[in-house]
């Protein structure tokens, strides 16, 4: 029983923190917020050099072959630094999906290019239909066989960093099935394919730019299929579990930063002749923030470990983490603004960057309600889970 990180993991976290604090202070973050592209190519290359882009990619393809715990450690630092760029989209979403479902040719083509910083990619999962669990059951974008390949038409929403992605991974309905999770097929589509249209969105978190993706009779060959026809769910499921844990790690990073800023502020800010942290109203708010941050840490890293260990409750744990941390980060980042008072509500003060970062991940990859429903379903369906033991 060891809940501590290994020395290597601590070094990895320190490395990520060092690179990000040197290359990505909030001054840079703010420049990227105003920039239509929204990320720095030199910093991307730096992330490639330090091995952070290939963190989970196998060594033969230029990666480090590390696990989800390591990935979560880096993502926590990304959240903490409000790193603006396609890291989550490329390294977590796209690389995980290709590793889960890609054939050898796809892995050889894409994974070394991701690890070396040559290829950016993203995954399009959301559509307009909201599902009870946040899963892909609502996929309406369809692909029909045409010639030897397929023609895709439809719309995806909230596709992160699609505007800079060289490769778009898209789930499409190939068969109408009574089980809405079946009949979905995943396609890897290169950006310059005719018929792809992107409309950029401006959301409150300007460090995470996303687009609406419209496909009109986009023609792809059969070799663009990732995984098996109609069985995209088998590939999406592990990817979305990793996304849930990764998003939790990002939110945890933002929340921990908010806690640290609040405690520091409460120590030095004086009103009524004493530091505001001396007042129980403020002190207790900070204590509750610590509780939420520590629980979020436990939930995030337990789930990351469970995925790495292929534990029987890994699926439940991923949803537990996303459900819990979504609420906890909301509370912590919100309390941080309250503890800071007026200054926390200004654009020039950095607090809102973390607040919005957490909000971004709260709504995506299964929000708290959807993940709670998923936890209940998994508990009802499974006897392997300790909850029903």
């Amino acid at each position: 029983m060891d809940f501590d990180f290994t020395q290597e993991q601590v070094m990895l976290r320190n490395l990520a923190r060092e690179v990000l604090s040197q290359e990505c202070p909030t001054r840079v973050v703010r420049q990227m917020m105003d920039d239509p592209v929204g990320f720095s190519e030199p910093l991307w290359q730096k992330l490639a050099e330090t091995g952070l882009l290939g963190i989970t990619i196998d060594e033969s393809r230029g990666g480090q072959a590390l696990g989800m715990v390591d990935q979560a450690l880096v993502l926590e630092e990304m959240g903490r630094a409000v790193y603006p760029g396609p890291y989550f989209a490329t390294v977590l979403l796209a690389a995980s999906l290709i590793r889960a479902g890609g054939d050898r040719a796809q892995m050889d083509a894409y994974l070394p290019a991701i690890a070396s910083g040559k290829l950016k990619a993203t995954l399009a999962t959301s559509e307009d239909t909201r599902t009870a669990t946040g899963g892909p059951e609502g996929t309406a974008l369809h692909a029909r066989p045409l010639g030897g390949g397929y023609a895709l038409s439809g719309t995806k929403r909230f596709v992160p960093f699609a505007h800079v992605a060289d490769l778009l991974l898209v789930g499409a309905r190939t068969t109408d099935s009574s089980d809405r999770r079946r009949g979905i097929t995943l396609f890897a589509i290169e950006r310059d394919t005719p018929g792809l249209k992107l409309t950029s969105n401006v959301s409150i978190d300007r460090t995470n730019k996303f687009s609406t993706l419209t496909l009109e009779e986009v023609r792809v060959d059969r070799d663009a299929i990732v995984g098996r026809v109609d069985e995209g769910w088998e590939v999406l499921r592990p990817t979305l579990q990793r996304a849930a844990v990764g998003a939790s790690a990002e939110m945890l990073g933002a929340a921990r930063k908010c806690l640290e800023m609040s405690v520091e502020y409460a120590r030095v800010r004086e009103q009524f002749g004493q530091p505001i942290g001396m007042f129980q109203a403020v002190k207790h708010a900070c204590a509750e923030m610590l509780l939420e941050v520590e629980n979020s840490h436990s939930a995030t890293y337990y789930a990351a470990w469970a995925l790495d260990a292929d534990a029987p409750d890994a699926g439940v744990a991923a949803s537990v983490a996303k459900a819990y941390v979504s609420g906890a980060a909301r509370e912590v980042c919100g309390s941080a603004i309250q503890v800071h008072g007026g200054i926390g509500f200004t654009w020039e003060f950095d607090l809102h960057l973390y607040f919005k970062r957490a909000k971004h991940f709260e709504a995506l990859y299964g929000d708290a309600e959807q993940r709670r429903e998923l936890v209940l379903r998994e508990v009802l369906a499974s006897t392997a889970v300790p909850v029903l033991a």
Partner: protein
């Protein structure tokens, strides 16, 4: 990071589970039956597991203690009966008692031949325990004790107590308190059950009228009582972190079963998205409690003491329980409040930690205690704020140089 149980722990768990399957008793009615069960647990090596071997314990690892407690909860077996004696009194005597005191009392604590209680809180001294007023006045080789204690669990069955009493009212309040062993059967000790909002009486009031306590019953030095009470750390650490989760989950599983039979809008309550959200939230929160518990156990296994962080644990589970019991009530509606007349298919068949039947209504009412006893939520937040986050301490009137209580 590796959260697997070791092979040894898995094998140990299997042995413990088999033992409980074989030995779990039917309902225990009398104190004698409960003492006999305790004795059986003791002989199996499941009592005082963390105590040093030289004092009759097992010197067991925190993980082993947690496994036994968890398996006991899983089997829904009755607990031990001398929790305060084993958790607090014994370790205090081992650390601070005289050789004569150790020789006289320690062995019978583990075997529950003598039951102990803890005389701390007073009507006017709750969170501010150090303001206590029960007086112990030295006269001719003994102390004369007068005053009143409250919230004393087990006082009605206890043979002995540890008592915090004021021996010197002339010094600042923390310095005038001493720590005694008190014979609960002695003359002048009166125990009155305290009826709580649950209708049951887990706690008592204890009154002292000119109770004579022999001077040799002083633990440590006169005036050292506060220090001893503050620094006493039990050997039985971490034991409860998984058992608590298991017990909570068992009730939650029962609630899910009940929801499958509770009619609602032509279906069952389990079809109702609002109910499902509540069940999902409870499942999530109790799983997080389990993960946090594993993190605490990981620390303990490495020989690290959980410091003020244990306040985070206590704050979370007690507030969580209160929240969950409210949700249980929302789901069950007026059925949840029934103390009698609940249809059997809706019943919660569980035992309270005090060894009597605990239904939904009882658990709901009892949950209000958790955020008050053993340091209220407000006290825990002060500890977290001041000792973990290092926020400035509040100026306190009682620390401004005034006299004792």
């Amino acid at each position: 990071m590796d959260l697997h149980e070791t092979r040894e722990d898995q094998a140990f768990r299997a042995r413990v589970r088999a033992w409980f399957e074989e030995n779990k008793p039917d309902k225990l009615e009398t104190l004698e039956q409960r003492k006999a069960w305790h004795r059986k647990l003791y002989e199996a090596g499941f009592v005082g597991m963390g105590w040093p071997k030289e004092y009759g314990g097992q010197g067991a690892r925190p993980m082993e203690q947690a496994i036994v407690a968890e398996e006991m909860a899983r089997a829904n077996a009755p607990g031990t009966i001398n929790g305060l004696g084993i958790g607090i009194v014994g370790p205090t005597l081992i650390a601070h008692g005289s050789e004569a005191q150790k020789h006289r009392y320690i062995r019978k604590i583990l075997t529950a031949e003598e039951i102990w209680c803890q005389l701390y809180s007073e009507p006017n001294s709750g969170s501010d325990l150090a303001s206590l007023r029960t007086a112990a006045v030295r006269q001719n080789g003994h102390y004369v004790v007068n005053g009143q204690k409250v919230w004393t669990s087990q006082a009605h069955i206890a043979d002995y107590a540890v008592l915090l009493a004021r021996t010197n009212p002339e010094v600042p309040k923390h310095q005038g308190i001493s720590y005694f062993i008190l014979d609960m059967h002695g003359s002048g000790v009166e125990v009155r059950p305290l009826k709580q909002i649950t209708g049951s009486s887990e706690f008592n009031e204890v009154f002292f009228t000119n109770v004579a306590v022999p001077a040799e019953n002083l633990i440590g030095a006169e005036g050292q009582g506060w220090e001893l009470a503050q620094t006493t750390l039990g050997f039985e650490r971490g034991g409860n972190v998984l058992a608590r989760v298991t017990r909570h989950k068992a009730n939650l599983n029962r609630l899910i079963e009940v929801c499958q039979t509770l009619p609602r809008d032509g279906g069952t309550a389990l079809d109702d998205p609002l109910v499902r959200q509540k069940l999902g939230r409870m499942l999530v929160e109790v799983e997080v409690l389990r993960y946090a518990g594993l993190r605490i156990l990981s620390k303990l296994e490495k020989g690290q003491r959980p410091g003020p962080e244990s306040s985070v644990d206590k704050l979370y589970y007690s507030e969580m329980d209160k929240r969950h019991q409210e949700m249980v009530q929302e789901i069950l509606g007026p059925y949840g409040q029934l103390e009698e007349g609940l249809p059997p298919e809706l019943e919660l068949d569980s035992e309270s930690l005090q060894g009597h039947e605990a239904g939904w209504a009882y658990n709901f009412l009892w949950s209000r205690a958790g955020t008050i006893y053993a340091g209220s939520s407000e006290i825990q937040k002060n500890i977290i704020g001041e000792r973990v986050l290092k926020l400035p301490r509040e100026p306190r009137a009682d620390r401004m140089g005034g006299k004792g209580a």
